[in-house]
């Protein structure tokens, strides 16, 4: 079932690709080196939802930062629509794991920040900001500051902040991992709904296999670190539209889960053993 790592993608143009990307960091002592990601190739097609799963601390976020242009790889390159990426990836939106909203701006001003940076007029930006806040279910919360919003609401603001710029590529780094299970499933469904109305290419990082299967068209399994690299790819042929809570009960989901977990399990155990040391 698993295809060769990074080899085949489904039909359609490739929007985002990693070409033999390696990321090494200087260690604590001089001369020491830590290789987070090693020789990774991966391609994401237009409108494709790809999840990357792997044990905690395996360098998933490093991969995402390379795609965002926040981090230059030690060797290899990231390609956006065939062009080598240099500097910030302007065609991508990034949703961070941690809270990334500006605490001194209210919800509306946070959502419109990207428009402001692009020189859109205040009124036009505010109008679109209100529209997007309503779309993520936060109409009436425009003037709340981040600390006055719940964790789930802050994630919604972050989602609107990213989507208002209409990026072609969505990079998401365990965006819902800090939420409770119920809120999380609601947010996952909302994300799928927003995504299906205007299909973007998504690279979704998570350590939660169920989340990955429920959301994605394709799941990529990474090995435990150091020197993380893809060790398996699984197309997810579950029908859409999906309800993330219900789909977990379908027999095909269970089958897929079993197959992927078979590959992932040994890596998780490896990662766990390293964490204990």
């Amino acid at each position: 079932m698993p295809t060769a790592a990074g080899g085949v993608t489904r039909a359609g143009t490739i929007v985002l690709a990693f070409e033999r990307v390696t990321c090494a960091f200087a260690g604590k002592t001089p001369g020491e080196r830590y290789t987070a990601v090693a020789d990774t190739s991966l391609a994401i097609g237009e409108g494709e939802f790809v999840s990357v799963v792997g044990p905690t601390g395996c360098g998933k976020s490093t991969l995402l930062n390379v795609a965002a242009g926040l981090l230059a790889p030690s060797s290899g390159r990231a390609l956006v629509e065939g062009d080598t990426l240099a500097g910030i990836n302007a065609r991508a939106g990034y949703m961070f794991q941690a809270d990334a909203l500006m605490p001194w701006r209210n919800a509306l001003d946070n959502v419109t920040a990207g428009l402001e940076f692009r020189g859109v007029s205040r009124e036009a930006a505010a109008a679109r900001g209100r529209e997007w806040l309503a779309r993520v279910g936060l109409a009436g919360f425009e003037h709340r500051y981040p600390h006055q919003l719940s964790g789930g609401m802050r994630k919604r603001v972050a989602l609107a902040q990213m989507l208002i710029l209409d990026p072609q590529i969505l990079l998401m780094d365990e965006p819902f991992s800090a939420l409770d299970v119920q809120t999380r499933q609601l947010m996952e469904n909302e994300l799928l709904e927003l995504w299906s109305s205007n299909r973007k290419s998504v690279l979704f990082i998570t350590h939660d296999l169920e989340e990955a299967i429920a959301l994605s068209d394709r799941v990529v399994v990474l090995s435990a670190g150091p020197a993380t690299h893809p060790i398996g790819e699984f197309p997810i042929d579950l029908p859409r539209p999906r309800d993330v809570a219900e789909i977990r009960l379908s027999p095909r989901f269970v089958e897929l889960h079993e197959a992927i977990w078979h590959v992932l399990k040994s890596e998780v155990l490896k990662g766990y053993a390293q964490g204990k040391r």
Partner: protein
Amino acid sequence: MRKASGDSRPGRASLALWHVAILAILFGVWYALTTPGLVDEAYANKIAFFFGRPLQVVKVVIAWFTSGKIYPHLAITLWETLLAFAIGSIFGLAVGLWLALSPTASAIAEPYITALNAMPRVILAPIFAVWFGLGVLSKVALGVTLVFFIVFFNVYQGVKEVSPVVLANARMLGASRKQLLRAIYLPSATSWVFSSLHTSVGMAFVGAVVGEYLGSAKGVGYLILQAEGVFDINTVIAGIVVLTVFALLLDFIVTKIEARLLVWRPRTAETEAL
């Protein structure tokens, strides 16, 4: 922290009562010790020479305000305080931002900043008097040297501690370097400036009064200096009382301004009235 078995803290009304009572007791003891008849006259006069007499002090304060003699002096002191605070803050903010964002500049400036900060800056007052004369400017200069470092260190720290995630997020949203300065660094730094508002306003006030005391022709510090010259201890203490009340007033205003400007700051256990 509340105790499980009842709250031992006094309520609002009884707390105010306590505050007034302590003040009354202090005043009473002061009065008793300096009034001939209640203590031996020779002792009373000796104590009054050093500590003044409360009723005389009150009389001086009342005379100041009824005759209007104090207002121009207060106005000068306030003006010096405000100027010192504003100029010191702007310099502190600008230099703090610059050094925090430019590692080379900060590495070069570091020993000088440390030395200037370690120096007891009140000692600069005579030099400022020579440079700027005995007018407002020399007091403002002294206040600026005091305010600058408080604001500078706060801004420097504030910029260094900007959340890297917030920063990365703004970059992903397309902020240029200039926009990052405006949208991230400046608000983050100003929030630190505001949180040091109490200290810096207080320091501006200290600069103004000490400057006046060391040589001036106007201001509350000047009044105190004059009175001290003729051993008029009552007037000295009256000046101190006026300055204290004034400082409390400034602090109160700063608290109000702070609450308005830092609405976005989370407070612990915030509830909303329905």
